[in-house]
């Protein structure tokens, strides 16, 4: 359950089905043809992924602030489909999602990061079930610079270590010839609360920069090296607001906050992937990366999908997890929890792009959805 599960090997070929489905998902925006693909898949999958009716009652969800907007879309839709259930949603952070699931305060914990071995030591009955695919973007606030700057893990690591301190420093200019970079300090924003976003970002830095891996490492909360200009912010919303107020800032922000960040005058960069390309976070590049990792995803669902050396694959994506105990207090609660989660991962229900696109999430590849379905059936 530790780092060894993390995929470091390049996957030569993609499973055909996974590719089709991921592509279908990525294109099923408004076009009819995409919709057709989608429904035909639905027909073929119907027996396999079936949403069974709930027993009714109230189910609580709490945790990740990145998943919170998603659950707020899912909950009313599920309640409309199954009026006997009330689905309470709350934010709080991934750490709370995990610990609330451990002590039974909520039935469904939400987390951007998979369970650690010590979490599983505390409660071996816990599962992390992938629900959807999220992406992280690196934003900056530079007045007059509308181009998507090229950023590499190495450059970002140097910025967050305080080695590159100005936007017009040679290290930034060499990656972005021709860009009009202002002579202002770089203010490195990081999350001061424990965060799955920090986990993803520091994993990306660790993978691309051995100094970072040795000195700082990756975690939901790390000891940040001293940079001459830095700020800590709470939540993705804090990152957006802080970056808006701070010209020269750089900030890693979950994709569900993209619309808001763009509206506040921030721009996201292209990130260097494992094969040396600079990739924009688009539906296609995210789907590529997800499809590349689909075959490697273990039965436990625990895998870090960073820098997969996948051609035109955006390098920072992750599964959003439901943290659920396999042992629920009663058979009825277990039945309702299963129903909710089955509905969420079903490509015709919770995983339809019309829901997911509201927060810019992407659907699970079919193989991963199958895997999640199997995990859900273990909830008793």
């Amino acid at each position: 359950m530790t780092r060894k599960l993390r995929a470091k090997v390049l996957v030569p070929a993609l499973a055909g089905a996974a590719m089709t489905i991921a592509a279908a998902g990525s294109m099923a925006g408004a076009t009819t043809s995409a919709h057709d693909v989608h429904t035909s898949r639905e027909a073929s999958r119907h027996v396999e992924l079936r949403v069974q009716p709930p027993a009714g009652g109230t189910i609580s969800e709490a945790g990740s602030s990145l998943l919170y907007p998603m659950w707020n879309v899912w909950a009313p839709a599920y309640e409309t489909a199954y009026p006997s259930v009330t689905l309470q949603t709350a934010a709080g952070g991934s750490g709370k999602g995990i610990s609330y699931a451990i002590n039974g305060t909520v039935q469904i914990g939400a987390s951007d990061a998979y369970l650690s071995s010590s979490d599983l030591q505390q409660d071996p009955a816990l599962e992390n079930i992938p629900l959807a695919i999220s992406t992280q973007e690196v934003f900056y606030h530079l007045t007059g610079v509308t181009a998507h700057l090229r950023l590499s893990g190495k450059l970002l690591a140097e910025i967050y270590q305080g080695k590159v301190t100005k936007w017009n420093a040679p290290a930034v200019r060499s990656l972005n010839p021709g860009a009009k970079l202002p002579d202002i300090p770089i203010v490195a924003l990081h999350r001061s609360d424990g965060s799955g976003d920090t986990f993803l970002f520091t994993t990306y830095l660790s993978d691309s920069t051995s100094v970072w891996a040795k000195k700082v490492g990756y975690n939901t909360s790390v000891t940040w090296p001293k940079a001459p200009h830095e700020l800590g912010e709470t939540g993705n919303s804090g990152m957006v607001a802080g970056c808006k107020a701070t010209p020269g800032c750089i900030a890693y922000i979950g994709i569900s906050y993209q619309t808001q960040a763009l509206g506040d005058g921030l721009t996201y960069g292209r990130l260097k992937d494992g094969v040396g390309q600079y990739v924009m976070p688009t539906q296609k590049t995210i789907a590529n990366e997800a499809a590349g990792f689909a075959a490697k995803t273990p039965k436990t669902g625990a895998i870090s999908m960073i820098d997969g050396k996948i051609r035109t694959g955006y390098p920072i994506i992750n599964y959003e997890y439901a943290i659920v105990s396999k042992k629920q207090p009663s058979a009825n609660v277990a039945k309702t929890v299963r129903s909710v989660l089955e509905w969420v991962i079903d490509p015709t229900d919770g995983n339809t792009p019309s829901y997911l696109s509201q927060v810019n999430f992407r659907p699970l590849p079919a193989k991963v959805a199958d895997n999640s379905y199997t995990q859900i059936q273990a909830i008793k």
């Binding site: 109230t58 189910i59 609580s60 709490a62 602030s65 919170y68 907007p69 659950w71 707020n72 879309v73 899912w74 909950a75 009313p76 309640e79 009330t86 309470q88 949603t89 709350a90 934010a91 709080g92 002590n103 039974g104 305060t105 909520v106 919303s237 804090g238 957006v240 607001a241 569900s256 906050y257 993209q258 619309t259 808001q260 509201q358 927060v359």
Partner: protein, 291 residues
């Protein structure tokens, strides 16, 4: 500088200083309140007051009811405990060593509690009540934690108000043969009422405006309170939405956050007005001057 001149200068400086002090507080206050109003008013819709919250859609009915229930509950629990504790500190405690007021340790416990970070109280509530007693996120743990926060303020306000009741009132009551309890209810508390009401008001404002401890004890729920004290799988209130929705990635949710902020400020405003009215009505019974 001649003495008269210096006195004149000091007087002018003093007068200017008091006005400056007022401006230093009032200008940010106006700035802040104006900001809250300006954010909420342009898109304000009255139906948020009676529409249910569904995910990030709809209105604020559940959280509004929740905040009112929290206030009422705190008034009940912290109000009674705080006023009684204040009575003890002012009237019943043995005098201190130097003839000062007694109950030093009890008063200090209450002062320390008033200075305790609310998030710590919330965390203890979470560990002991939500998890320890399996109450889950619900009304009762939230009420208890809020009450612990608020009791010191009400106790202090009550104590201060009681100490201002002239001794002659008590002596008069005693001379009439009233028992201590009877005079407490009929004379002393009545005459201290304005001060006590002000303390209760502060308590209510705190109860309605707290966020940190509620995150750990009430959780959140978008539905209207069903009447259960425990095991209710979450309890909704307004400050949660201010905190979670203010820069949530959906416009309507941001609006709900601004609306919740405005509603909270209006609630505080109404509390203050209510307190003024009550104070004005009870003042005629009391010796409490000013205001």
């Amino acid at each position: 500088m001649p003495r008269a001149r210096r006195r004149a200068v000091f007087t002018v400086l003093f007068r200017a200083g008091t006005v400056l002090a007022l401006l230093l507080v009032l200008s940010p206050a106006v700035w802040l309140l104006g900001g809250v109003v300006a954010k909420a008013v342009p898109h304000w819709q009255w139906n948020v007051l009676w529409t249910n919250l569904r995910g990030e859609d709809g209105g604020l009915l559940g959280p509004i009811v929740g905040t009112l229930v929290l206030m009422a509950g705190v008034l009940l629990i912290a109000g009674s405990v705080g006023v009684l504790a204040g009575i003890h500190l002012a009237e019943l405690g043995r005098p201190g060593r130097h003839g000062g007021p007694g109950g030093t340790w009890l008063r200090m416990a209450s002062d320390v509690l008033a200075g305790f970070p609310s998030i710590v109280l919330g965390y203890v509530g979470y560990v002991a009540l939500v998890v320890g007693l399996h109450w889950e996120f619900s009304l009762l743990p939230a009420l208890l934690v809020l009450s612990v926060m608020v009791v010191p303020y009400i106790a202090k306000a009550t104590e201060t108000a009681l100490r201002q009741v002239p001794v002659s009132y008590r002596e008069g009551a005693e001379a009439l043969g009233m028992s201590m309890g009877h005079s407490m209810r009929k004379v002393v508390l009545k005459s201290a009422a304005p001060g006590i009401v002000t303390g209760l008001l502060i308590g209510l404002a705190i109860a309605g405006g707290e966020t940190a401890p509620l995150l750990f004890t009430a959780g959140f729920s978008s539905t209207v309170w069903t009447g259960s004290l425990v095991h209710s799988q979450g309890f909704g209130y307004l400050t949660y939405l201010v905190y979670q929705f203010w820069s949530y990635p959906v416009k309507h949710a941001n609006y709900l956050s601004y609306d919740a902020g405005l509603i909270l400020v209006v609630m505080v405003l109404l509390l203050l007005v209510a307190a003024r009215v009550i104070v004005a009505r009870t003042q005629r019974h009391s010796e409490y001057r000013g205001r």
